[in-house]
């Protein structure tokens, strides 16, 4: 998807504004011959920024902060899932020992 196709998804998003978002690093589409190539994840991120700017009326200054925090949350969730998979791979007595220790509160 190029810039034109992406902006066509929105009633109120200009190509200039979308390119600004890319320039600021909020969205990172692939570079293509004729400009940018937006993948599904990039389009979803554009929608997210659009929601933040329009529906939630967040200021431009706040966007990088929010995006950074969201990315950290997703990273943490990914790490946590990795840990849970590691715990699940343990024998039952190890799992229950871990749960018992976590239940006591660190």
């Amino acid at each position: 998807m190029d810039v034109t196709a992406v902006t066509a998804l929105f009633a109120d998003l200009t190509q200039v504004e979308l390119v600004t978002w890319v320039e600021r690093g909020w969205v990172i589409p692939d570079a293509a011959e004729s400009g940018f190539e937006f993948h599904a994840i990039d389009v979803a991120r554009v929608r997210l920024i659009h929601d933040l700017r329009r529906d939630m009326d967040l200021g431009e200054d706040a966007i990088p902060l929010v995006l950074s925090l969201l990315d950290q949350v997703y990273d943490l969730r990914g790490q946590l899932k990795a840990v849970l998979r590691a715990v699940e791979a343990q024998p039952a007595d190890v799992r229950s020992a871990i749960l018992a220790v976590m239940g006591r509160g660190g």
Binding site: R45, Q72, Q79, V101, G106
Partner: protein, 304 residues
């Protein structure tokens, strides 16, 4: 679910009035009561009614046309993908915040989560520590080893051996905890404990009541009537025991201090045994014998 427009045989551009008249026509034709011979009419009629319930309502028809509800009137989930739907996708790599989570952070978080130092989770290369696992073993003991105590060597899965001191009087099912003999700890964590569950095999002669040892001792008729001094097994070896005269079945004699070390006694229950074959002299004597102390051994057994 079929398209309600199709069911009613109308176009999306048709007016509400046109839809209503199409519905009336179909309802008359397919009403179950005018089609007693067509069992499928009820199903068709239900379809028509449902279609008209949607299209006959201005608001619902508009929402259906916009794709907000489906033909059954249910909300259609929004089709747009949200960013979170991609949170696990490989493509998110480029949006990863590189400062969020290095190895050191991970270790310090775990050190805190597992109680390795409350309030000291500032990172700085803290090593992750966790107490070692407890190791569970089972040990079957002879009765005499259990009551007298002993030492047993058990082999652990990692090749080490472990000398288990069995305290005197250990009972069946008891768990002996050997502190620090379990799996090694991680980091600064203490090793776990070894937990040895003891099973005690029964003994053909002895059995236990608490700290006391009970043994049944067969005696002859003469020994029971006349008294005797006999050798009796105890858990520490045979001792001599004096049987007083007139000791009947069920007499319990105590051997003080011969039970569990320092705590119990041994009790000897006498079981007089009749001679194994005919004893005509004894029988002759008993025919004429008049006891000086007559007794009814079945007193108290009446069931009234």
């Amino acid at each position: 679910m079929k398209d309600p427009y199709e069911i009613l045989g109308v176009q999306k551009t048709d007016s509400d009035a046109a839809i209503r008249s199409a519905y009336r026509k179909l309802a008359k034709r397919h009403h179950p009561d005018v089609n007693p011979g067509k069992p499928e009419a009820a199903e068709t009629f239900k379809e028509i009614s449902a279609a008209y319930e949607l299209l006959g309502d201005k608001d619902k028809r508009a929402r259906y046309d916009r794709g907000e509800i489906d033909a059954a009137g249910n909300e259609v989930p929004p089709q747009r993908p949200f960013y979170r739907d991609f949170s696990d996708s490989a493509g998110r790599e480029k949006y990863r915040s590189d400062s969020v989570f290095n190895q050191e952070d991970l270790e310090s978080i775990f050190a805190r989560a597992f109680g390795g130092g409350a309030g000291n989770g500032t990172g700085g290369g803290r090593q992750f520590s966790m107490r070692g696992q407890d190791a569970h073993y089972q040990l079957t003991l002879d009765f005499l080893d259990a009551v007298n105590g002993s030492t047993r060597r058990i082999a652990m899965p990692d090749g080490r051996t472990l000398d288990v001191r069995i305290p005197p009087g250990v009972h069946d099912g008891q768990v002996i905890r050997l502190r620090g003999q379990g799996m090694p700890g991680i980091g600064d964590g203490a090793p776990g404990d070894a937990l040895v569950e003891v099973a005690v095999a029964p003994h053909p002669l002895f059995h236990r009541e608490g700290d006391d040892i009970i043994i049944e001792l067969p005696v002859t008729l003469q020994e029971a009537v006349l008294g005797a001094t006999l050798e009796v097994p105890t858990i520490k070896g045979p001792v001599r025991l004096t049987i007083p005269p007139n000791s009947g079945r069920g007499t319990r004699l105590r051997l003080r201090g011969r039970g569990i070390e320092g705590r119990g006694h041994q009790f000897v229950e006498l079981h007089p045994v009749l001679p194994p074959a005919d004893e005509p002299e004894l029988a002759e004597f008993l025919k004429t014998w008049k006891p000086r102390h007559p007794v009814d051994p079945r007193a108290g057994m009446e069931t009234t």
